[in-house]
């Protein structure tokens, strides 16, 4: 669950002090299926990165390094578009992920 602000924490006068603060809001709990990255299959083509609606593919120094589960909504676009053979992204049911 994202942390909801209390009435005392909500900024006064509808003023937002931090541009892009939506990044602090976690949409990961929307997921019912989740992408799993299989690093050894990855060809580092960045297709998943360029197509993710939620900027939830993490990269560092020009390398795909994994998935930001705090924001990934589980749409499955990345796994669908991954051209690696065998695929480097696979969708699994959240309930099978052993996380909860």
């Amino acid at each position: 669950m994202s942390n909801l602000l209390t009435w005392k924490e909500v900024p006064k006068g509808a003023f937002l002090e931090k541009p892009g603060n939506a990044a602090d809001y976690e949409t990961g709990d929307w997921r019912s299926i989740k992408p799993v990255w299989i690093a050894e299959n990855c060809i580092q083509c960045f297709r998943c990165w360029v197509y993710c609606p939620d900027a939830a593919i993490m990269t560092k120094d020009k390398k795909m390094i994994g998935i930001d589960y705090k924001h990934c909504k589980g749409c499955g676009i990345c796994a669908n578009e991954c051209p690696a053979k065998p695929k480097a992204l696979e969708m699994i049911n959240e309930s099978d992920s052993g996380d909860n």
């Binding site: 900024p11 541009p19 990165w49 197509y51 499955g76 676009i77």
Partner: protein, 308 residues
């Protein structure tokens, strides 16, 4: 040619944590526009619609750039004003930074209700880039037909049934109408073809004067397809020639991508619930009519682009 690895090192002006539906393709368009803009300082205006509503739920904003929302019908007028103020400040020597201005609007906010303000901004020659994310209906209020909705699509205000077979009219060709404004740059894009999209947005930003870009942005709720196929959806729209990729630069029409083999229209529409009623025996004729019109429009475009 867009180098994705290079682009991944820039900060984007649109963050995760926005509340667009899972699999919505509009944020993919916005992200790719951001990749194209790179570190150019931009001011963004947003028409009312899913993108505006779901990116700025108080007390959050998904925008890292200066952003303004005014109303549904006047994103272009609003941005014209901002751009004019910038020019005035520049003339007075109060600002020396080079700033670019980008508007985003849905198809309802662009083809219909924002149409006259868009037309006016283009005619007056403001240095703005208007980007329509065309999801083919008024999605934010629950899938009402717009003038961008494809013929025969089932929407809540063009319900397919015994009275009508979905939307009756053919869609408005807004990209061509914008080209008729004789502005320096007009293009049609799809996020599946990200190289094409990024190159065109870079051209649009570089141009001194108005530019218009029409981007197909599928909506899994309104089109009724599996969320994982959002990008496949625009790829098929391009491959079937329903949504051709082209640009009009200083009046010159140019096809920027020609499918190797034109796919039958059914490959695109059979994946979408909004066209399901077309696959019955009694509607077979409509399906043929649909394909025929796509063929005609495609040939018209090929002629305009000097390809036949």
């Amino acid at each position: 040619m867009a180098n994705l690895k290079q682009l991944s090192q820039q900060e984007e002006f649109f963050t995760p944590g926005h509340r667009m539906c899972a699999g919505c393709v509009a944020p993919v368009v916005v992200r790719q526009v951001s990749m194209a803009a790179g570190d150019t300082p931009v001011v963004i205006a947003n028409a009312t619609g899913c993108l505006e509503v779901a990116s700025t739920i108080f007390p959050y904003t998904a925008w890292r750039a200066p952003w303004i929302h005014n109303a549904f019908e006047n994103a272009s007028a609003t941005l014209s004003g901002v751009e004019t103020a910038y020019r005035a400040l520049k003339k007075q020597g109060k600002i020396d930074k080079k700033v670019k201005f980008i508007a985003f609007g849905g198809d309802g906010g662009t083809y219909d209700i924002g149409f006259q303000s868009l037309s006016g901004a283009m005619e007056r020659g403001h240095d703005i880039v208007y980007i329509c994310y065309d999801n083919g209906a008024y999605m934010n209020t629950g899938i009402q037909r717009s003038s961008a909705t494809p013929q025969f699509a089932d929407t809540t205000t063009s319900p397919a049934g015994s009275v009508i077979p979905g939307k009756i009219q053919w869609r408005k060709d807004l990209t061509a109408i914008m080209a008729a404004h004789n502005v320096p740059y007009v293009a049609q894009v799809a996020p599946s073809h990200f190289n094409d999209l990024i190159t065109k947005v870079q051209k649009a930003i570089a141009v001194d004067g108005p530019a218009f870009i029409n981007a197909m942005a599928p909506c899994p709720r309104g089109w009724r397809y599996d969320t994982r196929e959002g990008i496949e959806m625009t790829r098929l729209a391009v491959e079937t020639c329903y949504w051709p990729l082209y640009e009009v630069e200083d009046g010159q029409w140019k096809l920027t991508y020609k499918p190797r083999e034109k796919k039958p229209l059914t490959e695109w529409i059979k994946k979408q619930g909004r066209f399901r009623h077309l696959f019955t025996d009694e509607n077979k004729e409509l399906l043929e009519q649909f394909q025929q019109r796509v063929d005609e429009e495609w040939e018209k475009l090929l002629r305009r682009c000097g390809e036949m």
